[in-house]
Amino acid sequence: MKKFLIILILSTLFGGSLFAAEAGMPQLDPKYWASQAFWLIIIFLSIYLLIAKIFIPKIKNNIDTREDKIRKDLEEARIFREEAEKKLKMYKDLIENAKVDSKKILSESRQKLNEDIRIKKEKIQKEIEKETRNAEKEIEKFKSDSINKVGAISEDIVFSLLKDIFGEDGNKSSIKATVSEVIKKQRITKS
């Protein structure tokens, strides 16, 4: 309404002469009112029928089809995602199981290995002990043997010495007794 007033003021100020020919508003001339209303009703009615019967169902159909398609696609995507998640879970389970299995195998084999080592160690230990004992026995035998041999050699030496010095054969049995006596004495003093 404000605009309307401005127009009126502007028009009266500047355009006074413009209104000289035709005063007033043609809108208020009732000459063509009936015609305008009549044609308006006819044209609006026809466009209303066109829109209501043809265009709106078409547009609605279009939009509905699109929404349907989108909903279907979304649903499909959801299904795919679920499937993928299931698969992922399956793989994870598989990996988890494999890990557990490998751990089990590892610990089992370690135990077995330890047992093996222990048995072998024991066996070797026994063998070593046996060998040691044999060696000790041999050494003992060798010791006693060597004493006897030393005795015999000593007797021989003494016998030959006596023969070289005195020119006669000594009494073999007394020599033997003397040598064994000396060896015994030596042994005692040594030990």
Partner: protein
């Protein structure tokens, strides 16, 4: 006289005189521009619905946006019950919009700048809504004049005011659109006249005003169509969902 700012609203007969029982129903330039506007509307919707693409073409997008825009407007203001009246509101909005927009073209005629045109719409809507209200609610529809939660002392005054405001609906609805369109076009014409009368030296100022006003008028053309449609929705809402 072409420089008269009101000359653009002159109605002239085109073709032969048609008279039915003494009433002049001749085809006029107003009728011609109604037909042109209706043709544009039809053309737009025809192109918009010609092909059914999943990814819409530009015209299809425009028609679908219009559809969604008006569907949202109706559901926001009048609720779900107003769905059967969707085609009417849609036609009303788009027809008024195109009449206003066609009026913005130079040398054209603005159909909606005539009070008889807007009044015809307004009276039809007023009568239609009132009848609808009485059909749906019976005599309870008269409750619309008696708002709830008003003190008894004020009730007679409020009721009188409500009745007056209800009865002035067609007037306000029609005058709003008509006055806006007429004022805008008159103003454009007046400033256009100033450009000529002030000539090459002083004419630039009103010319720039004219350019700005043209932009404003395009906005007003849309806005008034929207206001007309949304007020129709509000009146419809009063008739459909009676709670004051």
């Amino acid at each position: 006289m072409a420089t008269n700012p009101m000359h653009q609203f002159q109605v002239n007969r085109i073709g032969p005189k048609i008279e039915i029982s003494g009433i002049d129903l001749s085809f006029t330039n107003a009728s011609l521009f109604m037909v042109i506007s209706a043709t544009f509307v039809t053309l737009l919707l025809l192109l918009g619905t010609r092909e059914k693409k999943l990814i819409p073409s530009k015209v299809q997008l425009v028609s679908e946006m219009l559809y969604n825009f008006i569907a949202k407007m109706i559901s926001d203001t009048a609720g779900k019950k107003a769905k059967p009246y969707f085609p009417f509101i849609f036609s009303l909005f788009i027809f008024i919009l195109f009449c206003n927009m066609v009026g913005m073209l130079p040398y054209s005629f603005t159909v909606t700048s005539h009070i008889i045109v807007t009044l015809t719409f307004a009276i039809f809507i007023f009568v239609g809504v009132t009848i609808l209200g009485f059909i749906i609610h019976g005599f309870k529809y008269l409750k619309i004049f008696v708002p709830s939660g008003v003190p008894i002392v004020l009730l007679p005054i409020i009721t009188v005011i409500e009745i007056i405001s209800y009865l002035s609906r067609p007037v306000s609805l029609s005058v709003r659109l008509f006055a806006n369109m007429m004022a805008g076009h008159t103003m454009l014409k007046v400033f256009g006249g100033f450009v000529i009368s002030l000539g090459l030296i002083g004419g630039w100022l009103p010319l720039s005003f004219s350019v700005a006003l043209t932009g404003l008028e395009i906005l007003v053309a849309f806005l008034q169509a929207y206001v007309f449609a949304i007020l129709t929705c509000i009146y419809l809402n009063d008739a459909l969902n009676l709670h004051h």
